[in-house]
């Protein structure tokens, strides 16, 4: 079983072959599914916890504080301690809730998150599913999450939850448009919706450089709309601690609350990963046209490292937004989307088509 940190295709293929030798095809499928499932579970749990820690630290730094410092070195184990605490909390079901829906909602959100994760290319050959409509698939399944939010708010029998869920619905419905349209802009440039092809297409120049002005505009719009999609500040009026206590997950406790919490952070990761895949070259190293030696040095850094570096950068940007800007009002949110982002986006698509038609790109 050859292990190559630059290309995982061989490794996964060899694993598949050796499984096939020892087991029936059905067993192989089951074993492979289990392995992948466990990997994703571990990744979501650990990376989600890390993101919570990172968020607290970054937030503290922006506010000239230090953040968690006591549990572990520089507070590294803080979120793990918090998570254990959450696991041991009593699961309270308030009076008058719709029991079935109330218990279902956290799972719907988690499932949506898992499904979106499935197509992300982490490195060459490290992609679970490679649909030829990958981009479309991600935008489609990521909007399943809002159903979970709506159900959670509706079934909680709490006015704040309901208001939060409704706001979230209105917001995600509007911003879904901007996300999709900015992705469409890039699909025009890439000429494919398959994520692996999109990444492959950025071997020489990342799309944000290749598509210059329209790509940059699309990137900014995607970041703004993506932040709104994940219900993060400054678009967090679905949770709005100061008005709605915690919005749609007010009534949840213990592990169910942890589900919402983790899903929110993993969704942020998914938005960042999509931004990286479509705009910033995915796991491709940074290449400049003719600088041979520079390109060679960049090739030396493994794709996984590249991927997570870029994702980290985008996540940092999203956190920067959250801890800088005040929360928008409902009408401001809708104005921003319908009066600004959407028209700019449509013009931008036109611009990108012109650029592609006239081959005015790198």
């Amino acid at each position: 079983m050859g292990f190559n940190i630059y290309d995982f295709t061989g490794m996964t293929h060899n694993m598949h072959v050796s499984f096939m030798e020892h087991m029936s095809p059905l067993m192989t499928t089951i074993v492979e599914w289990t392995i992948i499932g466990v990997c994703y579970l571990l990744f979501i749990a650990l990376f989600g916890l890390f993101l919570v820690y990172a968020e607290r630290k970054v937030c503290a730094m922006f506010q000239q504080r230090m953040g968690p410092m006591r549990v572990g070195y520089w507070g590294l184990l803080q979120t793990i301690a918090d998570f254990i605490k959450l696991l041991m909390k009593e699961l309270i079901t308030p009076k008058g809730v719709d029991k079935f829906l109330y218990n279902l909602a956290p799972f719907i959100i988690m499932i949506a998150t898992f499904m979106a994760m499935a197509v992300l290319p982490f490195a060459k050959g490290l992609q679970t599913l490679d649909f030829d409509i990958g981009v479309f698939y991600v935008t489609a399944v990521s909007s399943i999450g809002v159903i979970g939010i709506l159900i959670a708010g509706w079934s909680s029998n709490n006015k704040y939850s309901l208001i939060g869920a409704m706001r979230s619905g209105a917001q995600i419905l509007s911003y879904e448009l901007s996300v999709s349209l900015s992705l469409v802009t890039m699909i025009i440039l890439a000429g494919s919706m398959q994520l692996s092809v999109i990444v492959e297409g950025q071997r020489d120049a990342w799309f944000i450089f290749k598509g210059h002005v329209p790509a940059l505009i699309a990137f900014v719009i995607f970041l703004i709309a993506g932040t709104a999609e994940t219900n993060r500040g400054p678009f967090d009026l679905a949770e709005a601690e100061s008005e709605l206590t915690a919005g749609f997950h007010t009534e949840y406790s213990g592990i169910k609350f942890a589900f919402f919490f983790l899903a929110e952070y993993i969704n942020m990761f998914i938005v960042a990963a999509m931004a990286v895949t479509v705009f910033l070259g995915g796991w491709m190293p940074l290449h400049f046209g003719s600088l041979e030696s520079f390109n060679h040095v960049m090739d030396f850094i493994p794709p996984l490292v590249w991927f997570f570096l870029k994702v980290g950068g985008v996540i940092f940007l999203i956190m920067w937004f959250k801890w800088t800007f005040p929360r928008l009002r409902v009408d401001q949110i809708l104005t921003l989307e319908w009066k600004y982002l959407l028209p700019i986006n449509l013009v931008n698509i036109l611009l990108m088509s012109l650029v592609v038609l006239t081959k005015f790109h790198l």
Binding site: V58, A60, M61, F62, Q63, Q64, R65, M66, M69, W320, F321, W323, T324, F325, Y340, I344
Partner: protein
Amino acid sequence: MNGLFEYIKTVFKGVGTLLTGMKITGSYFFRPWKHVTQQYPENRETLKMFDRFRGEVIMPHNENNEHLCTGCGICELNCPNGSIEIISMSVLTEDGKKKRAIDKHIYHLGMCTFCNLCVKACPTGAIIMGQEFEHAVWDRTKLTKVLNLPGSKIAQGVKE
């Protein structure tokens, strides 16, 4: 056409103001040595509280064990929650006159809200805010203090 121009101007202005905000928070983020948080028990030796910090009410005494308190009771009247009790006595001055003086200036630290009103009200400036803040004790009777030291008397020349 004019409307379109205005529209584009608002977009750029909006982006500009957002970037200004991000510049400010970014300048905080990238200068971690400016952080204001103190790591308290670790820096206990070097920790210096700032001047306006209100730790507790104290009554300073000079080297002759003299203070400035006349026992007028104004601080007691001004305390919103009754944290101060003034027990005064009368003493005979040299020329045979009776005069009021402080016997016990009782201060209940456990009730004090550190509002600073007593310090503001004191006509002679006999009490000030101290910087000590480690007030934890096992027995709350220890939080009731007598601020004038035993055997102390009022300094010469303090006008009522």
